[in-house]
C-alpha cells in the first residue's frame, strides 16, 4: 500500500511551487529527494532523483530513510511539530509540504525506516521540473532507494524525456542494486542509456551478511545488462577488512572479468555520514585503502575508472 500523500497537493521548494492534482491512472513516482545539479552521479552535470523504497536492507546504507515504504501506521503523525502530517482517513497518512521544515523528526520514529514526507509526483510534473535545467545537463540519474521497484513509472519518465524535443539530449541512468529480473528490465531498456549496478560482494555468504540477500539475482542482472549493452558501470563499496580481502577481491574480479573485463568499475568509499548506528562497527574507508583496491582490481584485469566519496586534499 502506498498511502502517503497520494492525491494530496504536491508542492515544495525542491520540486514544485504550486499544488498539483494527480489525474487518476497517471504514472507517479515516490520521490524522496532531488539534487538539481550533481557531478558525482555519472558523466557530466546531472539531475538526480532519489526514489523511495528499497528491497535490500544493507548495514552500510548511506540513505537509510529511503529504504522503507510507508505503511500508514500513523506513528509519526503526532511527532510532527509543524502539523505537516495528518490521518485524513484510515490507512492514509497525508503530508503537506507547505508547513514542513524538513526537521526529519518523523523519520526518526518510523519503525520501518520510511519517510512520510516524500512527494508522490506525476511523471509529467517531473518533466516540467527538469525542462528549465535541460541546457545545463548531460542527463538524469535516478537513484534511491532502489529505483527499479518503480520500474513502470520510471520507464514512463524516461520515455517522456526521450520523446521531448527539448529534453531528448539527456542521457538516462539508473543506480541499482541489480535485483530486478531481466523480464522486468526489458520494457525499460529502450529508454535507458545505462545502469550502474552495485555488486556488494562476490561471495554469496558475504553478500547475504551485507545486504540480507544472496547475490544470484544481482549477478544475473549484470550479465543481462552487459549483453544488452546497457551496463554503464559496476560499483564496489570498499569496507576495510570486509569487502577488500584478497580472497573477496579475487572472486569479485573473476566474476566481473568473466562477464566483460572492459566494464567500467567504480569504487565507493564507505563513510559514516547518513548511516545508522549498526554501520559504525566499520571504520570509514581511507584513500589508501581505495587506492590499494584500485591497484589490485587493475592487476586482476579490470577497468577501474575512479572512485566516489574519497576525501583527499
Amino acid at each position: 500500500m502506498t498511502a502517503p500523500a497520494r492525491g494530496a497537493p504536491v508542492r515544495g521548494p525542491l520540486l514544485l511551487h504550486h499544488p498539483v492534482t494527480i489525474a487518476p491512472g497517471a504514472p507517479v513516482l515516490e520521490v524522496a529527494g532531488v539534487v538539481r545539479s550533481s557531478a558525482v552521479d555519472g558523466p557530466g552535470n546531472r539531475y538526480v532523483l532519489f526514489l523511495q523504497g528499497c528491497n535490500f536492507d544493507c548495514t552500510a546504507c548511506h540513505n537509510p530513510t529511503t529504504i522503507g515504504r510507508c505503511d500508514a501506521c500513523g506513528a509519526c503523525v503526532p511527532v510532527c511539530p509543524h502539523g505537516a502530517l495528518s490521518l485524513p482517513e484510515p490507512g492514509v497518512v497525508a503530508y503537506d509540504p507547505a508547513p514542513c521544515d524538513r526537521c526529519k523528526l518523523c523519520v526518526t520514529v518510523c519503525p520501518i525506516d520510511a519517510d512520510p514526507a516524500i512527494r508522490v509526483v506525476p511523471v509529467d510534473v517531473l518533466v516540467e521540473e527538469i525542462r528549465p535545467l535541460a541546457r545545463f545537463l548531460s542527463g538524469v540519474t535516478v537513484t534511491g532507494g532502489e529505483p527499479t521497484i518503480q520500474a513502470g513509472a520510471l520507464a514512463a519518465l524516461f520515455a517522456a524525456l526521450k520523446a521531448d524535443a527539448g529534453l531528448g539530449h539527456l542521457t538516462t541512468l539508473v543506480d541499482t542494486n541489480g535485483t530486478l529480473p531481466p523480464a522486468r528490465w526489458k520494457p525499460l531498456l529502450p529508454v535507458l542509456d545505462g545502469a550502474m549496478v552495485d555488486l556488494k560482494a562476490a561471495s554469496s555468504d558475504l553478500h547475504q551478511r551485507l545486504t540480507g540477500h544472496d547475490n544470484v539475482a544481482v549477478k544475473e542482472t549484470i550479465r543481462f545488462l552487459s549483453s544488452a549493452g546497457k551496463l554503464a558501470e559496476v560499483r564496489l563499496l570498499v569496507v576495510e577488512g570486509v569487502t577488500d580481502t584478497d580472497e573477496e577481491l579475487a572472486a569479485w574480479a573473476e566474476f566481473v572479468a568473466a562477464v566483460d573485463p572492459g566494464i567500467p568499475v567504480r569504487l565507493m568509499a564507505f563513510r559514516h555520514t547518513g548511516t545508522r548506528e549498526r554501520a559504525r562497527i566499520w571504520p570509514e574507508t581511507s584513500p589508501e585503502a581505495v587506492d590499494r583496491v584500485q591497484e589490485r582490481l587493475t592487476a586482476l584485469g579490470l577497468t577501474a575508472v575512479g572512485s566516489i566519496g574519497v576525501s583527499r586534499r
Binding site: 557530466g44 552535470n45 535545467l133 541546457r135 545545463f136 545537463l137 548531460s138 586534499r313
Partner: protein, 512 residues
C-alpha cells in the same frame, strides 16, 4: 614640497619588501598624485569626495589609457619601424617578437593587460611539422617569460573560438604550470568551437581554475571589429581599449535617495549617472587633449592601435545593496520583484550610456561595465552580482544574473563556486558553461574548491603565496591585492565563492 609628501616618498624609497620596480611604480603614483585633478563642477567634486563616484585611483593626470589591446598581428606581419624589427619569419620568431612588443605596451598597471589572441597570432606560422611536444616547449618558454617578467595577474591571454593546435598547447601548458600569469580566456562559440576544446578548457578549470570562458557570438555582436578579454573580465575592442574606468557606487546612490522607487529611477539615479559622465569626460579629455598619449605612441602610428577604437568604461557596482535597500524586504538573488527592479535599474543606466555622447570615444559613446570592486570595498557587492553568502543554487544563480549580461558591453563577471568533486568530472563544468551561454551569459568563471590557484575577482592568486607574502614580500603585484581581499572578504574561510576586487595600486600591505 610638503613634508608629508617627502615622508610618503621616503616611505616608498626605504620600503624593504618592495622590489626596485615596485618602488619605481609607487614613486610615479606619488608624483602624479601631486598634480591637481581636471576641473570638475562642485557637484562632481563632491561625488568623488563622498565615494559616490570613483576613478579607482587611476590618478589625477592620466597619461596612458587604462587598458590597451594592441593588434599584435600587424607588427608580426609588417615588423616595426620604431623598434627596428623585421616581420616574423617563423613561429619561434613570432613569439620572440611578441615578447619584445609586450615590453612596450603600457596600461594602468604599467604592464600590458593583453597578450593577444595567441592562437590567432601564431597559427599563421604553424604547419604540420610542429609536433605537440615541440609546440609545448615553445609555449612553456613563453609562459615562463610572461610570469617572470610581467608580474601582474591582470595580464590576459586569449584563445579560441576555433579549435587549433596552438590553443590546445596553451591549455596543456597553462594547466601543467599552474602560474598566476598569464590570466587566460577561452572564447567559445557553440557553432564553431569543438566540444573537445570546451572539455579541454574544463579540465584546465578543474586543475587550476583557468581559463575564464567568454560567449564569443554575444560579445562579437558588440565588437564586430574583434575584441579581447583583459584584466577583470573586461571585453574591449581589439586594436583599441578603454581610456578610463570610472565607477558609480550604486549602494551609496541608493543611500542618498529619499522617496519612492519611481522617483529614484526618474530623478536620483539619472542625476548620479550624469555626475559619473562628467568625471569620465574630464578624464578622457585630459588623456587625449593634454597628455596626448595617442599622438606620440608608435603603437598608434604603426597601426597596432586606433584611437577611434578606444571607449571609456562606465562602471557600476553595489547593485545588490541598492536594490535590497530600496525594497527593505526583498532580496536580490531570492525574490522575483528584486530581479525585476535590478533589470529596470540596469536599463536606466545602460540606455543613458548608450545615448550620451562621449568625446574621443568609439562610436562617440562610453560602454557599461559591471565593476568587480577593489580590495577595500567592504560590504559592497561587485557589479551586478548576488552578495556572497546569499548565492542561490548554481542554476538559479545563473538564471538570476544571466538576463543582465547582454547590457554590459565592456564586461560583467559572476564567479561560480564548484565543489571539488567536479575535478573528477570536468564534463560537468562544460555542461554548466554551455547552459549558461544558452541562457545569455556573456562570460563565466568558476572557482573549484581545493585548487591552490584561486580567482579573486578576475585575477589569480596562489593561496600558498599569500601565506608567504607578509614575511617575504611578493614577486607578483596582484598577490598583495589578493592578500587584502583575503582579509577583507574572508576568502580563506570561503574558498568556493570568490570575491570582488579589482585593483589597488598602492601595494598597501607592503608599505604599511
Amino acid at each position: 614640497m610638503s613634508s608629508s609628501f617627502q615622508d610618503q616618498v621616503s616611505a616608498v624609497v626605504t620600503a624593504p619588501k618592495l622590489t626596485y620596480r615596485q618602488r619605481l611604480q609607487q614613486l610615479a603614483l606619488l608624483a602624479e598624485g601631486a598634480l591637481p585633478y581636471p576641473k570638475l563642477s562642485t557637484a562632481a567634486d563632491g561625488a568623488m569626495e563622498s565615494g559616490l563616484v570613483s576613478d579607482l585611483r587611476e590618478g589625477p593626470a592620466p597619461y596612458r589609457p587604462r587598458y590597451l589591446l594592441p593588434d599584435y598581428s600587424v607588427a608580426l606581419r609588417n615588423g616595426s619601424e620604431f623598434l627596428e624589427l623585421e616581420p616574423a619569419t617563423d613561429l619561434e620568431d613570432a613569439v620572440a617578437l611578441l615578447e619584445i612588443l609586450y615590453h612596450h605596451v603600457p596600461s594602468i598597471t604599467t604592464y600590458p593587460v593583453y597578450f593577444g589572441d595567441l592562437d590567432a597570432l601564431l597559427m599563421p606560422y604553424w604547419d604540420e611539422s610542429w609536433t605537440p611536444e615541440r609546440l609545448d616547449r615553445v609555449v612553456t618558454r613563453l609562459w615562463r617569460f610572461l610570469d617572470r617578467t610581467i608580474p601582474d595577474a591582470f595580464a590576459h591571454a586569449n584563445i579560441g573560438p576555433i579549435d587549433n593546435p596552438v590553443a590546445r598547447s596553451v591549455l596543456r601548458v597553462d594547466r601543467a604550470r599552474a602560474q598566476v600569469v598569464p590570466n587566460l580566456t577561452l572564447k567559445w562559440d557553440p557553432d564553431t568551437s569543438t566540444e573537445a576544446l570546451l572539455l579541454a578548457a574544463a579540465e584546465g578549470i578543474a586543475a587550476v581554475n583557468k581559463p575564464h570562458i567568454a560567449n564569443d557570438p554575444l560579445i562579437r555582436r558588440d565588437f564586430p571589429e574583434g575584441y579581447g578579454v583583459v584584466s577583470c573580465y573586461n571585453t574591449l575592442p581589439l586594436g583599441g581599449g578603454s581610456h578610463t574606468l570610472t565607477r558609480l557606487n550604486l549602494k551609496v546612490s541608493g543611500e542618498r535617495h529619499h522617496g519612492s522607487i519611481e522617483r529614484y529611477l526618474d530623478e536620483t539615479l539619472p542625476a548620479h549617472i550624469e555626475l559619473t559622465f562628467e568625471i569620465i569626460e574630464a578624464r578622457v579629455r585630459y588623456l587625449v587633449e593634454e597628455a596626448r598619449f595617442y599622438e606620440h605612441s608608435f603603437l598608434v602610428r604603426e597601426g597596432l592601435l586606433h584611437p577611434e577604437r578606444f571607449t571609456a568604461m562606465f562602471g557600476i557596482y553595489g547593485t545588490a545593496e541598492l536594490v535590497n535597500g530600496l525594497f527593505g524586504d526583498k532580496r536580490y538573488g531570492k525574490d522575483a520583484e528584486a530581479a525585476e527592479l535590478t533589470r529596470r535599474v540596469i536599463d536606466v543606466i545602460a540606455s543613458r550610456v548608450e545615448r550620451r555622447e562621449m568625446p574621443h570615444c568609439r562610436n562617440g559613446r562610453a560602454t557599461l561595465h559591471a565593476q568587480s570592486g577593489i580590495g577595500e570595498d567592504v560590504g559592497v557587492t561587485a557589479g551586478a552580482r548576488v552578495p556572497i553568502g546569499e548565492d542561490p543554487e548554481l542554476v538559479d544563480h545563473i538564471l538570476t544574473v544571466a538576463p543582465h549580461h547582454h547590457r554590459f558591453a565592456s564586461g560583467i563577471s559572476d564567479i561560480f563556486a564548484l565543489e571539488s568533486s567536479v575535478r573528477a568530472n570536468p564534463a560537468a563544468i562544460a555542461d554548466v558553461a554551455r547552459g549558461a551561454f544558452a541562457h545569455g551569459m556573456r562570460e563565466i568563471t568558476f572557482n573549484v574548491e581545493g585548487c591552490d590557484l584561486v580567482r579573486v575577482t578576475g585575477y589569480m592568486v596562489r593561496l600558498s603565496d599569500i601565506e608567504r607574502l607578509r614575511a617575504e614580500g611578493s614577486r607578483i603585484n596582484s598577490t598583495v591585492l589578493g592578500a587584502d581581499s583575503v582579509e577583507n572578504w574572508g576568502l580563506l574561510d570561503r574558498v568556493p565563492r570568490v570575491i570582488s576586487t579589482e585593483f589597488d595600486p598602492r601595494l598597501g600591505a607592503l608599505i604599511r
